[in-house]
Symmetry: D2
Subunit: 236 residues, 4 copies
């Protein structure tokens, strides 16, 4: 898996800051004076903590994600407030060196050879069909979830934060979690402050709302009390 | 202000229940046996509490909202995951009996006559211009935020819940808060269970995230601790 | 493949009609008099033809789609203005009788036995791994695009129209095209008028914009002229 | 009215090109060789003309729009696939020098003094109320549609194209049309090719679908034939 930041809004902190200030100021953006990074970050932080997240939409990030499984992308594209351009199995006819297969660790442990042999056989049949005139878009029905694909993903920062809440959670599927970690690393190169906000949902809530918590974070008694309290909501 | 439920997904609990079960079951919807309302509600409740909200999108509610101010609708239509059909000030040319003005209580208290006189004058000028050939779409530049309008609003239940989190909060603007209360009353006629979920955000979080809490709800020490803990997120 | 209309906005024509009228009328929805179906349809038709489509969003349709391949659903869920609840390969552990495989006709022709044998072997290995403790979410990496799945799809009518423009086109992939045809059949049972609007994009445009037209529709010389004219757009 | 491009995806042509190629190529973005601008533009053009527009979403543009009326912004924010940060009339309390009023030309012609006098009176009353303790969020009920506001708008290029189809049409309201023209001018400074795509819908369709065409463009007989043909759609 390879994740690269292809492009992003230049100076995202400034754009987000101007969005925050425009809401609450008599001044128009062109009239606002320059302030220090520290001041910009401080205003953004307070705005977010009070629940006003739409200002974060004005900064976008585009990632190139390469060599991930289609098991991953089928989950990924369920996030609808984002833009995708994915390698098409209808239009691309794979040859030996252009298709790989992602092997989960739990399979690699005892079944590496079996996995490799099965993938080899599947791909051999795929090629046999394609060479005999079966359209690639039909031959691909044989291809497994493990098949690699490439996808370009663009999310604005609000969505990236929402996406991380769900997919950086240890209850998320391991491959997509690995991808989000790499996305976060890429965001770190642009802004440590923004990267800090990419956290599993428990860090934003103050407690874990999963039925079966991962147990990685030890939540305080207060957190458990608050969770149990808000669970009464639907009984009111 | 008049809020009527124009239409809604029939038997929304059943549709949401089938959506929940489809995700986790070997069975297709057509193979699932009927279960009691109690069982359906119980599954939905557990699904929502664990953070899986997309199932709620399969039930929709359409409201007719009449006689609200355009101050309200300008806020309302900022909610983008919804559908709107609003009376157009470009195409509708108002006559005496078809335009009213919403007067806030804080104005009614000491300035009722002044407000009425000003509205009367504005409308007189509007009519004068229109009758002299100024297009309605331009004459409306005179019309105040207080001017009434009609709007049909369709939201799926997930969005209705999100909308309520923000606009049932006592920090929301009074007119839109009043509208959401009426929407909630309408939902109650369809399902008490679903209506229960329409709550300000503090009830979903377990604490208030506003900078200046309304003070209506007394949160426990635990809640304050959890809030202060999660506020550290962006410092990490 | 089985496609059933699970639920829909009752009396969708009336709701869409009220949405149209609300935009252009002095009257509020509650003040509007009943009119004949013919009059409602006529107003809706004129509204759509003039490019005002948002009114169509106030009617929604929920379909249960069963026994389609994951090749289909990976395409389907790329349509983002819709709601989905799909059987999870992470949470559902398939047994012999709960997983089937969709075989394309071009494969069935000469490779039926080979396809069946390969699917059998893949599934045998899947079961072997699962029974040996490999989590279902990892074992599924073996499963092919041909694997069947169930999904509940909710779209408002505007999106259903847009979806049909793309996926009822003969250049669409055969399985998803088959699904949309069945969806259209279901809509026909609710409203013949609305079903009429579910057409490939060429029928809405008046010409085909595909690089390689399917050739099924013979477009007039006028249509080809108009297409060639508008193709100059990006050269201006 | 002042429209400035605050920020945009750097090298948008390259990002869109990579998105196009990723869909149809065996290669991952990181393996693709540099090509000339001409080749990139040519691929993008063909991709768009064949109806594949999602690739355009990977480039975003943020505009600062200052001194426009709230009549304009109420129309603007109806475009839901965009992000907005608007000056709040709830939080901002206007003083003499921070609120202006947009006067339509049709009013300026014969009613300039009347307009000015009315605006002056409205604002005087607004200030009187505010100074007497009426909250700004209530006093604003007096403020007219003509009141100026500032708003930051972010749209990806696909949405910017869609937005232009509707709001660059001569049937659009004059103030928003003026704004889009200025947005287009700003896009021209980044890419003449992309700016070319910002056209009223008739230029994309090849004919005008409005009930009352503006008459500015003289469409060919072919165009009228095609329009009349496609109008039969809903009768089928």
């Amino acid at each position: 898996m390879k994740v690269c930041l292809l492009s992003n809004t230049p100076d995202p902190i400034k754009v987000i800051y101007l969005a925050c200030r425009t809401c609450y100021s008599k001044l128009a953006p062109s009239e606002m004076q320059e302030v220090t990074d520290e001041k910009m970050v401080s205003l953004i932080k307070n705005t977010i903590l009070s629940g006003h997240h739409s200002v974060l939409e004005h900064a976008s990030f585009s990632f190139s994600v390469e060599g991930v499984s289609r098991a991953l992308t089928h989950q990924l594209v369920r996030h609808r407030l984002a833009s995708y351009a994915q390698q098409s199995q209808r239009y691309v006819e794979y040859k030996e060196d252009t298709l790989d297969f992602v092997m989960p660790k739990t399979i690699a442990k005892n079944y590496k050879d079996k996995f490799d042999a099965l993938m080899k056989e599947i791909f051999k049949t795929y090629r046999e069909l394609v060479e005999d005139g079966v359209p690639a878009e039909d031959a691909r029905y044989l291809l497994p979830n493990a098949s690699t694909t490439n996808i370009i993903v663009t999310m604005n920062f609000r969505e990236l934060m929402q996406f991380s809440k769900i997919r950086l959670c240890y209850r998320a599927q391991w491959e997509i979690l690995e991808m989000v970690k790499k996305m976060k690393d890429e965001v770190t190169t642009v802004s440590q402050f923004l990267a800090n906000g990419l956290q599993p949902k428990c860090q934003h809530l103050g407690y874990c709302d999963e039925t079966k918590p991962c147990g990685c974070y030890k939540f305080s008694t207060s957190a458990l009390e608050v969770k149990s309290e808000r669970n009464k909501l639907w009984d009111m």
